[in-house]
């Protein structure tokens, strides 16, 4: 694992140039793809998420690290072979019906991607039916919902109801977040988890999937 320390450090710093160079070096020396991702990139993003949740680093630094990781992934992707890389889990995510805010949802998507999850982002103003359909189609492990308005929070309840009506509520874990959303509200609508920020969303997702 030690050989990726320079890569990990570059991603934490958000130094795209040196991270890309380290990734290139790892690929050229024939390192295992899964190991570059897990022990280099994801390890870095885990650290970034943890520091963010503790208030040691801030949103621009987190974004910079995520962007750095994305650039490294672009380099790695052409080397993927079937079965090379195991996805940790699939997350369908979106901002609920009637709500156009996407900043928080995007931060969560980015951090989950950084942690190695596959993200299916439905965007903003997403109908309950669209959530249900995508969860069915992709057999997602997690459904993440965001709401930034108190008036659109009830749409979270409606979306969970729609999962029940479709008979798939027990096949997917539901995580919610957004400025007006609280832990109490999550319990009230029987969501499986509440994440107050992007770092916590990663921690909660891992917990829900038994990965930590």
């Amino acid at each position: 694992m030690a050989e990726f320390n320079a890569l990990t450090e570059s991603v934490i710093k958000g130094d795209i140039k040196s991270a890309v160079a380290e990734t290139q070096k790892a690929l050229e020396t024939g390192q295992d793809i899964q190991s570059i991702i897990d022990d280099g990139l994801i390890r870095a993003m885990d650290d970034v998420g943890e520091r963010f949740s503790k208030g040691q680093i801030f949103v621009p630094q987190m974004l910079r690290s995520a962007k750095t990781m994305q650039e490294c992934m672009k380099l790695i992707q052409p080397h993927f072979k079937e079965g090379d890389v195991k996805a940790k889990g699939k997350v369908v995510i979106g901002t609920v019906k009637g709500d156009l805010h996407d900043i928080g949802k995007n931060l969560v998507s980015m951090m989950l991607e950084g942690a190695g999850f596959t993200i299916i982002d439905l965007g903003v103003d997403v109908n309950p039916e669209a959530f249900v359909e995508k969860v069915k189609e992709t057999e997602a492990d997690i459904m993440g919902m965001s709401a930034l308005l108190s008036t659109t929070m009830p749409a979270m309840r409606h979306t969970i109801d729609a999962l029940k009506e479709a008979g798939i509520r027990d096949q997917v874990k539901v995580m919610i977040g957004g400025a007006p959303v609280t832990d109490d509200f999550a319990r009230e609508i029987k969501a499986d988890a509440y994440a107050p920020d992007a770092g916590s969303a990663v921690i909660q997702t891992k917990k829900l999937l038994g990965l930590s």
């Binding site: 801030f58 949103v59 621009p60 903003v124 108190s150 007006p180």
Partner: protein
């Protein structure tokens, strides 16, 4: 500068508790403090009560207006809650807010055109949030058009350029400032307004950022702000900036605020 006092918002724990317990004394005190600190409108927001929002907002309107002789800023994205609150409000309220989102626009246009009030026009498009100066000005212009066509005078319209965090995109400060400048120039007589806290999301020492952002907004023509008027450092920034911009004859307001102990630099 028109000051809207933002403290009576149920997203604050103590305000939510006071509304839950119908503690009219506590709510009244917060209203009086803001009035004494220079607020022209008192904002009331009961959004966290979800299904009970309308009922709680009505109670807040009556409670605050029993304590202070000021108009209120009725703060909700829900047309229903706003309409209900307007019915019990005395005088001319500020409606916060209308946007281009179809449901909100169609429900509120007839209501705000039907009685004298001030209206916050939030630059939120029908299906997306604007990001550039041009997009904000476009949405703002359309809202102004809708409102003036219904007979609302420009002087009663307050365009909110939609403040987004600089932590996510460092161009967002400039986008808001540019929009304020253009809207004020293209629609003489109209007002611009904004809240301050969104700008600093995701960054440390947020109050400092908010304060500096307020001053920059004012330099670009902002004519109203939703803020905590009991924050003496913030008010010092506001009053000194207004004075420096030539809007305070004989520096009277600035000096008075100093003499009344309403401003400080630390």
């Amino acid at each position: 500068m028109i000051i809207v006092g933002e403290k009576i918002n149920t997203s604050r724990t103590r305000i939510a508790a006071a509304v839950e317990n119908q503690d009219s004394h506590f709510i009244g005190q917060i209203a009086i403090q803001q009035a004494q600190a220079g607020a022209h409108f008192i904002d009331v927001n009961a959004g966290t009560f979800l299904e009970r929002e309308s009922e709680c907002l009505r109670w807040l309107v009556e409670t605050v207006q029993n304590a202070v002789d000021l108009p209120l800023c009725l703060d909700s994205p829900s047309p229903q809650a706003l309409t209900e609150a307007m019915k019990v409000h005395r005088g001319e309220p500020m409606i916060n807010s209308i946007s281009l989102e179809t449901e909100r626009l169609e429900a509120l246009l007839p209501v705000v055109a039907g009685q004298p009030c001030h209206i916050v026009a939030l630059c939120m498009a029908q299906t997306s949030m604007p990001s550039t100066v041009a997009e904000r000005v476009e949405v703002g212009s359309q809202l102004i058009k809708h409102l003036t066509e219904r007979g609302v005078p420009l002087e009663r319209i307050y365009v909110d350029p939609l403040i987004q965090p600089v932590s996510v995109d460092t161009q967002m400060g400039g986008a808001a400032l540019g929009a304020i400048q253009r809207i004020m120039a293209e629609f003489p007589g109209v007002n611009t307004i904004c809240g301050l806290s969104n700008i600093s999301f995701g960054l440390p020492v947020r109050r400092l950022i908010n304060r500096n952002f307020l001053v920059l907004c004012m330099a670009h023509g902002l004519s109203a702000a939703i803020l905590d008027p009991t924050d003496k450092q913030l008010m010092a920034a506001l009053l000194s900036a207004d004075m420096l911009l030539g809007n305070d004859e004989y520096c009277e307001k600035y000096i008075e605020a100093y003499q009344q102990g309403l401003i400080t630099d630390r």
